[in-house]
Symmetry: C2
Subunit: 252 residues, 2 copies
């Protein structure tokens, strides 16, 4: 009785949502009317959000809100998924991975297998995403929180980075200027954190979807030679790719 409610809530929390059909498959010997009543009960308890044909977890809604805040996590989705899928193959279980804040890296975090990683991040959304998995451990860089992007920055952050060891840093940028090979972002404080991380990491992986090429934002936090591997999507300009490879950087 209450067990089923808990199981349902757990599933919704873990997967972000559930469809009615999934629910029926999960409980084949319970009538659909009862399951419907269960969802409504959970909704009354404010544990989930009931939508047509299923239910959402509260966190899914939170994320929606975030997406609405920051400019649309929703564009170039296919490209970002492609990049994330390629990038997760580059990190090894049991390794210590820093994941930078950003929409592509959020897809990376989702795609990361449920294995014994040590994950470090300064992005709330990513921390939560990883924390929902069973096996990884997660540490969050403390500091001042930036509105809109939900990442931490500032001195505390930098000090913390000094004390930790990073094998692999999975980074992203708001813009890439191909003439100078500069990776840029929108705020000074963010750039500082990124710089510290890159300095500390043994291996720097840069995730960059094609929409970022020649998009200019104020602060440069890295140059091409700070990066070891770049992961791009299939629409990434061929010439730019060659140019980067000529610099001795592996482009995937």
């Amino acid at each position: 009785m209450k067990d089923r409610l808990l199981l349902i809530k757990e599933f919704i929390d873990k997967n972000g949502k559930i469809s009615f059909h999934e629910l029926e498959c999960a409980f084949p010997n319970v009538s659909s009317m009862t399951l419907r009543r269960d969802l409504n009960k959970l909704e009354e308890e404010n544990a989930v959000i009931r939508i047509s044909g299923g239910a959402l977890s509260v966190n899914t809604v939170l994320r929606a809100k975030e997406a609405d805040f920051s400019e649309r996590i929703n564009y170039n989705t296919a490209e970002k998924l492609e990049i994330a899928d390629k990038a997760v193959k580059l990190v090894e279980p049991k390794s210590c991975v820093f994941i930078d804040g950003g929409s592509t890296t959020t897809y990376f975090a989702r795609a990361l297998p449920d294995d014994n990683f040590y994950v470090l991040t300064n992005a709330l959304v990513i921390a939560e995403t990883i924390l929902r998995k069973e096996k990884p451990t997660v540490a969050l860089l403390g500091g001042d929180l930036k509105k809109n992007s939900f990442i931490t920055v500032g001195k505390t952050c930098i000090d913390f980075i000094r004390e930790i060891n990073i094998q692999t840093a999975v980074m992203t940028a708001t813009g890439y200027i191909k003439d100078t090979g500069a990776f840029t972002c929108g705020s000074q404080s963010e750039a500082e954190v990124k710089r510290s991380i890159i300095q500390k990491a043994d291996l720097v992986i840069m995730l960059l979807d094609s929409s970022k090429v020649n998009k200019k934002t104020p602060y440069t936090f890295a140059k091409l030679d700070d990066v070891n591997i770049m992961v791009v999507d299939k629409n990434f300009p061929k010439e730019t790719k060659n140019q980067i490879e000529d610099m001795g950087i592996r482009v995937i």
Copy 2:
């Protein structure tokens, strides 16, 4: 065309929700199919939450729904709301407030007016809640993240606390043992953080709903005389309340 979308979003934001019927009445010379498409468009943009027969504003959902503590369904909601409403009156704008992680304190965070507070917390959910407001600034204690409770703990956390100043600490406990006046919680690491905070704070406010009385969890992090003000609900046992007041602690 786009005007209509904006009007709809505005209405939903203002009223918290809209039903299909209302929508049809509001735009009598637009077909219901178009309105339906409009709502779906807004949903895709993460501007509203689409539910059966209408839509909700994201904010309504956030306000109404409980924080996401994955292991348990929320209970004692009314009591916690009551406590939160009383407690927010105790903190002054422009003051530096630490908010402890917990479900009651999450309600506190929601109830906190949108004013120039300096908020510190070790709870992701609370950080996000405050960050959605316009005026407060938020800093997050870094450290190892605990699964289920989504709070940070550990050495990094403690070190950070040493460096900061706290005017008011808004705390909560998992249990209160009335014989010894001990506030308890479920993990050693959590207790350490709570202890550090209490030591640093000028004023300690403890939010405790009646379900916590004589609930025993392993680690004691504070005694009655560490606390300055206790905020409780109307079901809080009278004798226990008197007992606490006799110790010179203000109970609200």
